[in-house]
Symmetry: C2
DNA sequence: TCAAAATGATTCGTATACGAAACAACGCAT
DNA sequence: ATGCGTTGTTTCGTATACGAATCATTTTGA
C-alpha cells in the first residue's frame, strides 16, 4: 500500500500546501490503520481481514450474490471470487446457483461460518467508528459536510479530466 | 495470542451511527479513488501506481535507502524490495550498496527513470490535493483539526487495546 | 424471432502487500 | 575484542487486487 506524500507541483502558498499534505497524510493514516486493525482482529479467528468482513456482512445481511458482495466491499468480482474460493475451502461459505437467474451465484454462510461470525465480538472498523463517535455533535456534522464536499470535488475533477470512452480496437 | 480481555462495545443512537458510517464510507472512498487515479496516470507511462510514486519520490528527494523509501510510502521492506526488483528489471532504478554501512542499499534513478519522472506532468494524488486545496481557509483548518483529533483518538484506542509485548514462546 | 449486446461469474497473469525466517553487517556491553 | 542483540535487506508463502479474456446465460433490438 503506497501512500505518497507528494512534492508540491500545483502552486500554492507554502502554508496551505503544508495543510493539504497533512490532510492527505491523515486520511491515509486513518484508512491504513483501520485496515491493519481489522486484520489484527481477524487473525485471532484465523481469518484474513477481507474474510472477516465477508463473514460479518453475510451474517448481518443474509445471502448475497457475488456481485452484490463485490459492490459492498468495494472490490472487483475477480478479487471476491478468489476470496470466496479460499473461504469455501475452509468450509466457511457455500456457493449456490440461483434458480431464477442461472448466471448468479449466491454466497451462503455455513454453520461453521455462522458460528464464527457470532464468536467475533467486534465489528471490523469498530475502533475507527468508536473514534469517530467520540466527536461531539457539531464536529461530526462539520467533518461529514466537508468530507462530502471533498468527495464531490474529486468526482467533478475526475469527470473533467476523464473524457468519454475512446473508441479503440486493439 | 488469545481472546482480548475486554472487547470494546459501543452502542449508538441510530442517527449518530448513520453519520459515523457515512464518515467511514467517505474516507474510504477518498482513499480508494485517489489510488485508482494514481494508477490511471501511471498506466499512461507503462508504470504501476507504486512505481510512479517511487520514481517521482526519488526524482524529488534524490537517492534513498530501501528502508527510507519504505517509510515514505508506508509499506513494508519486503513489499518495496519486490517493487524495486521489477523496476530494476525495467532499468528504471539501480541498487547501490552503501560504502559507509554495507547493510544499506541505496536506490538510484537511472537516466531512463529520470527521464520518465520528468515526462509525467502530474503528481500522484494531485487530483486529491486539488480537491482539498479548493476548500476555503476556514474549512481547511477545521477539517485538519478534526482529522488530527480522530487520528489521535485512534492512536489512544489502539494503545489501550494492545497490551505490552507478551513473553511468548510458540 | 433470433442474432447481437449485455450481464454474472470464473480464470489467468501480474503486481502489490505483509509476516516470518534467513542472512549479513553493525554496534554495544562487558 | 568478542559475544550477542539489533538493524537493513532479501526470500518465501500466502492473500489480496485488478484488468483482460472466457464462458454461460439473459436481455435487447431490428
Amino acid at each position: 500500500m503506497v501512500s505518497p506524500s507528494t512534492p508540491p507541483r500545483i502552486s500554492l502558498p507554502p502554508g496551505v500546501q503544508r495543510d493539504v499534505d497533512k490532510v492527505v497524510e491523515t486520511i491515509v493514516y486513518l484508512y491504513t490503520e483501520s485496515r491493519r486493525l481489522t486484520k489484527e482482529v481477524a487473525r485471532a479467528s484465523n481469518l484474513t481481514g477481507p474474510q472477516l468482513t465477508v463473514v460479518k456482512m453475510l451474517h448481518h445481511l443474509g445471502d448475497l450474490s457475488l456481485s452484490a458482495l463485490s459492490d459492498r466491499i468495494r472490490a472487483g468480482n475477480s478479487t471476491v471470487s478468489g476470496i470466496i474460493d479460499r473461504m469455501e475451502r475452509e468450509d466457511l461459505v457455500r456457493r449456490v446457483r440461483s434458480k431464477e437467474d442461472r448466471r448468479v451465484v449466491h454466497i451462503k454462510l455455513t454453520d461453521k461460518g455462522r458460528a464464527l461470525a457470532e464468536s467475533v465480538p467486534i465489528q471490523p472498523m469498530e475502533i475507527f467508528q468508536a473514534a469517530i463517535a467520540s466527536l461531539d455533535g457539531e464536529e461530526m456534522t462539520t467533518i461529514l459536510r466537508i468530507l462530502l464536499k471533498l468527495a464531490g470535488r474529486v468526482d467533478e475533477l475526475v469527470k473533467a479530466t476523464t473524457p468519454t470512452t475512446p473508441s479503440e480496437t486493439p
